[in-house]
């Protein structure tokens, strides 16, 4: 009886040790990176189709895997792919940083970058207005491109054996 209790204690302690290692190993594997450009688009796969989310400069992403020049990341409750050039292993603030300075400074357009790319930007709208041009033509072009789903694109690549999905 006492012997089996002792074994149970031994087993429990051993399990606790193993679980401890496992937990810490998991914590170690959760490498984090920060968005270094004004925004990082997170895509459904390794290419610009199927936008999952747009992370702003300074926001944290958790790396789940590295694949070629892409990282599979967790962002808030979403998962997707981001290009490694868009992030930094160093924590970055949300203000102007190296990435933006290279590109000429931080944004002053006042646009919500999480919505960036959803429609025509203010300057383009003003340009169209000033030149009396129809902005809907470009909006139609953009809508057509955004209507392409990741599944469609994947099927297209596989059928032609081209692109990141077709060459697998």
């Amino acid at each position: 009886m006492k012997q089996s209790r002792g074994r149970a204690v031994l087993r429990a302690l051993f399990t606790a040790g193993v679980v401890g290692i496992g937990g810490i190993a998991l914590a170690q594997a959760a490498e984090e990176v920060w968005v270094k450009s004004s925004q990082a688009k997170i895509w459904q796969g390794k290419g610009p189709v199927g936008l999952v989310a747009t992370a702003k400069k300074g926001e944290k992403l958790t790396i789940m895997a590295r694949e070629d020049k892409w990282m599979k990341v967790q962002y808030e409750d979403k998962q997707g792919y981001v290009m490694e050039t868009a992030v930094s292993p160093k924590k970055i603030g949300s203000g102007a940083g190296a990435g933006d300075m290279l590109a000429g400074g931080s944004d002053t357009s006042g646009m919500d970058t999480s919505l960036a790319g959803r429609g025509l930007r203010e300057e383009a709208m003003k340009y169209a207005d000033a030149k009396n041009l129809d902005p809907k033509v470009v909006e139609q072009m953009m809508e057509r491109n955004r209507a392409i789903t990741f599944d469609e694109w994947t099927a297209f690549q596989k059928a032609g054996k081209v692109g990141p999905e077709g060459k697998k």
């Binding site: 020049k69 930007r121 072009m141 297209f156 692109g163």
Partner: protein, 297 residues
């Protein structure tokens, strides 16, 4: 009884020792991990940062870093697209536009800016040309599609335009044309829309009149070969198309008027392909014919 107690106590001691050892083992990498991960991360970050810096600055001789932010570059791309699509109109064939977009996105994914949301469109004109606005607004004329024979040729022309975007040739053309850093900064404040309109018009005219430098055209041709190979397309398709256009031009046609020196360019592309030693990849003639209908006589 006494023996049993001793045995159990010894087991507990052993168990405690094992657990302590396991915890130490577990904690040790945690500390080391913080240090080593940071060190490795720094190395990767520097490499990546350097690469990005090169992309931003490797834009032609004597041209320094750009003065537009990413969102402003996008706004300039959209403004250029507004001008060009209004000038020519978009081809109403949605299936054709979608096919071109699928090919373009496949090539773009193989470029160093594979995460840029590229937009592709077919212009409603029989001209043989293609245009690239900053940040991925690429428009190809239907006339160019009509002179292609397979998907690898289309992929090649789109790869060339994607390279112009990757290297930010449009924005640098504005700088070369005399738009100063101060002028670019003024654009960024958006205080005076007249300046923005003027800068956009300036760029559009240069694009339409084919005023990329020889260096920019050459670099885009060579990068296109890299992107095509990375995407799995036969790069010889691109060479075939340029060669065909060069032959047509020399026989008196006005094809690809905004892309001069086609013969030399075809030779340089052939040289790059030979250097790469890549003679495979997809051509997809059947899929191209299915998706790009020829006008009925």
């Amino acid at each position: 009884m006494k023996h049993e107690m001793k045995t159990n106590r010894r087991r507990l001691v052993v168990a405690g020792t094992i657990t302590a050892a396991l915890l130490m083992l577990a904690l040790a990498p945690l500390n080391m991990g913080g240090c080593s991960a940071s060190t490795i991360g720094d190395a990767v970050g520097n490499a990546v940062g350097g690469k990005q810096g090169q992309l931003i600055q490797a834009t032609g001789k004597g041209v320094t870093a750009l003065a537009l932010s990413e969102t402003q570059e996008d706004a300039m791309g959209q403004s250029v697209a507004v001008a060009i699509t209004n000038r020519f109109g978009l081809d109403p064939n949605e299936a054709l536009n979608k096919y071109v977009s699928l090919v373009g996105k496949t090539v773009a994914a193989a470029s160093p800016r594979g995460d840029v949301e590229f937009h592709f469109g077919v212009l409603n004109t029989d001209e043989v040309n293609a245009y690239a606005g900053p940040n991925g607004y690429i428009m190809i004329a239907r006339g160019a599609l009509m002179r292609m024979q397979d998907e690898s040729e289309l992929a090649g022309v789109l790869a060339h335009e994607i390279a112009h975007v990757v290297d930010q040739h449009g924005l640098n053309m504005m700088k070369v044309a005399g738009l100063t850093d101060a002028g670019m900064q003024a654009l960024r404040t958006n205080a005076d829309i007249a300046k923005w309109v003027n800068a956009t018009d300036n760029l559009v005219e240069k694009l339409v009149n084919g005023q990329y430098s020889q260096d920019q055209e050459t670099r885009s041709d060579l990068l296109a070969v890299d992107y095509l190979i990375a995407a799995g397309y036969d790069p010889r398709g691109y060479h075939n198309f340029i060669q065909r256009m060069a032959t047509a031009s020399s026989s008196g046609g006005d094809l690809m008027s905004t892309h001069p020196g086609l013969g030399d360019r075809a030779n340089r592309v052939a040289g790059k392909i030979n250097q790469k030693g890549n003679f495979g990849g997809a051509t997809l003639a059947d899929r191209f014919r299915k998706n790009v209908p020829r006008p009925t006589a």
